[in-house]
Amino acid sequence: MTSTELIEVSMNIGQRLLQCGAETYRVEDAIFRICKSYDATEINVYAVPTTIITSFTRNNEAPITRVARIHKRSTNLGLLDQLNTLCRDICREKLDYASIKERLHLIDVHTGYPKIMLCLATGGGAAFFTFLFGGGVIEAICSLTTCVILWYMIEYMNHIRTNTLFINIVGGFWIASTALLCYKLGIIKVYENMVIGSIMILVPGLVLTNAIRDLIAGDIVAGITKFTEALLVAAGIAVGAAVPFSFAGLLGG
């Protein structure tokens, strides 16, 4: 494998790992190990949630560096698992360029769950969280319906590349207004547990926890980036939810 090919595959794997929501140290570690197992020296990897920079020298050649910019991130733990296995295999068996490419292609064509299932699972998650926070059956059904529709809205907005802040404003607005509507129409007695249950699919609790983990682990920049991201998402939901709540307040709710 040539140095160019090595940096290409290692960056490719690192980039995918970061996109499917791997921790910063895992991304850095994966690239480092792959490069090391092909006898690269002076390996330096720097990863933050939006960028990866890798640099190494090999066989007394001039140092080689590459930068990757990451625009879109989501949580895809199945993909993370597969990439992790691939990474281990590369380090252990020193696969050649063509077979790594083939394995990556196999991971690509290996599709996830069908959309309808993801949609129902989102609704189901919201419904069970509504139960968990003390809601009854009717509240849970309301959350399920709300979140199934919300999932389609988010999917559409992602499709037309709307920014994250706006998506969360719309999400917060939608959840708060449907909950208040159900409350006003007398379908549900209390709206709090329905709002909390539904909003669990939007709130950045996991991002906030991961941000603090990164900060403790010493990846200060990555931690601050995630922290800011969490704040932005929370602000978006708050702004969205504020509108129906204040209207309800004005109308004497």
């Binding site: 733990l77 993370l80 698992d81 069970f128 968990l132 909390i196 906030l208 929370a234 708050a238 204040s246």
Partner: protein, 147 residues
């Protein structure tokens, strides 16, 4: 007691749903969901130990599920995150973030700040719980490796 079992079961099903949303495959879904059950169960049971404060309860629940996730990861040969991220979901301070913004909207700054600090405190307790356990696991593995 019935209430505790009921809530833990709901947490289990919620985590299974989220495991599907996060594209977890096969039998990993069940183990990730079971982590969610354990986390909420420990959180509720710890109420008898720490009746006055919430943060130690979150910490203990996180310690237990991090150990559980490390074991699952070793046995099922998968990254720890797969189990940890999902088991952690019932504990993450979604409610705290929500309450913070409700107080913000109402213009009650004092309560909003109180809630905000409490929320960051919970997130900190979760993060420290994870870091402590994974560092200890790392130390033990290193020690066995050197020996």
């Amino acid at each position: 007691m019935d209430e505790i079992i009921y809530q833990s079961l709901m947490s289990f099903f919620a985590c299974i749903c989220f495991a599907v949303v996060f594209q977890v495959k096969g039998k990993h879904i069940f183990f990730a969901g079971f982590g969610g059950l354990i986390s909420w169960l420990i959180y509720l049971l710890a109420a008898t130990l720490f009746p006055d404060s919430d943060i130690p309860r979150y910490f203990i629940a996180t310690v237990v599920i991090t150990i559980y996730s490390e074991v699952c990861a070793r046995v099922l040969r998968s990254p720890v995150t797969v189990f940890l991220a999902i088991s952690l979901l019932p504990l993450v301070p979604g409610n705290g973030i929500y309450q913070t913004m409700v107080y913000c909207i109402k213009g009650d700054t004092v309560q909003a700040l109180r809630q905000c600090i409490f929320t960051v405190g919970i997130a900190g307790a979760l993060a420290i719980g994870i870091v402590v356990v994974s560092s200890i696991v790392h130390l033990i593995l290193r020690y066995n490796h050197i020996k």
